[in-house]
């Protein structure tokens, strides 16, 4: 069993990348995106927790790079500012639009990569436990863990109800209005069964005294490790520098 990671430096790193996404030039942001992709393979703390999350991250990288390219080209074609930099199939690409697209795309990629890399390399139960250590009430931690249970169960239930309604002759393949009506025939049993299950689970929680006895809230304390402090300090320095730059014009 792997030891649980200290998530504070990782979260501080995400904050630093967010600051970079809003303050630094787009070329540096694009470079940071490349570094993050390399870091996903090279830095042990950023490695995906499972083959499934590794595949999801790889798919997201390909998808987002395709979207970023499309965004840049569409902006260059539709926003007619600045000189014409290229002409593809009779469509003129303008410098102003292209730069706007590149800036937008690099910021979007950096924000997305930073958040996604955090989550693919951190098992969700570990993250929830970390939040609880930092003061999240135990009932909210339980709620998040129950959500993970429902997330596993719901697609199966939806599929079962869909097939059952289809077998009963519900108009799941007819016109738009009929399909919208069929939505109720799927949602109604789903919500009804969830309320029944919630009442049962709520009764069990009450019987065990979970909801009434005072819950011990563990606080992680106010101290930070040196790495978290270093990363947050760097974020503050970059933010302060860009604010000063903006103020002096």
């Amino acid at each position: 069993m792997s030891a649980r990671q200290n998530l504070s430096p990782k979260l501080a790193f995400v904050v630093l990348l967010w600051v970079c996404a809003f303050t630094l030039p787009w070329t540096i942001q694009a470079f940071l995106c490349v570094l993050l992709i390399i870091g996903r393979f090279a830095i042990p703390a950023l490695r995906p927790g499972s083959p499934r999350s590794a595949r999801a991250f790889s798919r997201f990288i390909l998808y987002s790079i395709a979207v970023a390219t499309l965004v840049s080209i569409l902006n260059a074609a539709l926003i007619r500012e600045g000189a014409i930099v290229a002409n593809i199939f009779g469509i003129s690409l303008h410098q102003g639009g292209l730069l706007f697209g590149a800036r937008t795309a690099s910021r979007l990629l950096l924000l997305s990569f930073s958040i996604l890399l955090f989550f693919v390399s951190t098992p969700l139960p570990d993250f929830i436990q970390y939040l609880q250590e930092k003061g999240l009430p135990p009932y909210l931690a339980l709620m998040l863990l129950l959500t993970l249970h429902f997330l596993d169960q719901l697609p199966i239930r939806i599929h079962q109800i869909f097939l059952a309604q289809q077998a009963r002759g519900a108009p799941v393949d007819s016109g738009m209005l009929a399909r919208t009506k069929a939505l109720f025939s799927i949602l109604s049993p789903l919500v009804l069964s969830s309320i029944v299950e919630s009442i049962e689970r709520g009764t069990a929680l009450e019987l065990r005294g979970f909801l009434h006895k005072p819950q011990p809230v563990k606080h992680g304390g106010s101290h930070m490790d040196w790495l978290t402090l270093l990363v947050l300090s760097l974020a503050i320095v970059i933010l302060s520098y860009s604010i000063v730059q903006w103020l002096i014009g």
Partner: protein, 205 residues
């Protein structure tokens, strides 16, 4: 003495509410599967939040929407994390309308859905425009680009895009929740804190 937010949330999260909110968070994240299976062009990604706002209360709805967006970010849609304020507005506003008794009449529900759509579009436009320059890696990006190309500012383009899709989506979501809650057995609904939001005062349940 007024209660703290933490106390209010703890008050709402009792008994069946806790598992039900967890279910609704999961419903927000999987509603897309139902609409995709039925080939209906709607998001319905806040239907769980609306259900919680009506059947439990506004604070739980804020928690439900926020947690759904946090988990959506964890499950592969990272930009959702920045829209937590928008879902908080949706949860709080719907809870407020439910407490006013708007979920007892269909026409008030329809009006509430439209108002909610406008509010959601107004709340998400600055985030979408200033953080992402209107690009959300979705089909609606083309609409933003179109509005920009005809001479609108970025903020206005994002707002117009939101106003073309959000009111319809929220109107349908509100009506679905209204008809769902009407068809639920009263003996079950009465176990939830927000049951009084659905009953006309003075009438037996």
């Amino acid at each position: 003495m007024s209660k703290s937010i933490r106390q209010r949330i703890a008050e709402e999260m009792t008994g069946a509410a806790l598992p039900f909110v967890a279910f609704c968070i999961a419903l927000n994240l999987t509603a897309g599967q139902i609409t995709a299976a039925l080939k209906i062009p709607l998001y319905l990604d806040s239907i769980g939040t609306i259900l919680v706002a009506v059947l439990i209360g506004p604070w739980s709805a804020v928690i439900c929407g926020s947690a759904a967006n946090l988990l959506a970010a964890a499950l592969g849609n990272p930009s959702m994390i920045f829209f937590i304020p928008v879902v908080a507005v949706i949860g709080a506003f719907t809870g407020f309308l439910a407490r006013l008794g708007w979920f007892r009449k269909w026409y008030l529900v329809a009006l509430g859905g439209l108002l909610q759509g406008i509010l959601a579009a107004a709340a998400s436009a600055p985030i979408s425009a200033y953080l992402f320059s209107g690009v959300m890696m979705a089909g609606t990006d083309f609409l933003v680009l179109y509005f920009r190309s005809v001479g609108n500012t970025l903020l206005n383009s994002v707002l117009y895009q939101g106003l073309t899709s959000d009111p319809a989506d929220k109107l349908v979501s509100y009506l679905i929740v209204f008809f769902l809650t009407r068809n639920l057995p009263q003996r079950l609904v009465s176990r939830l804190r927000g049951a009084s939001n659905l009953r006309t005062p003075g009438r037996p349940s």
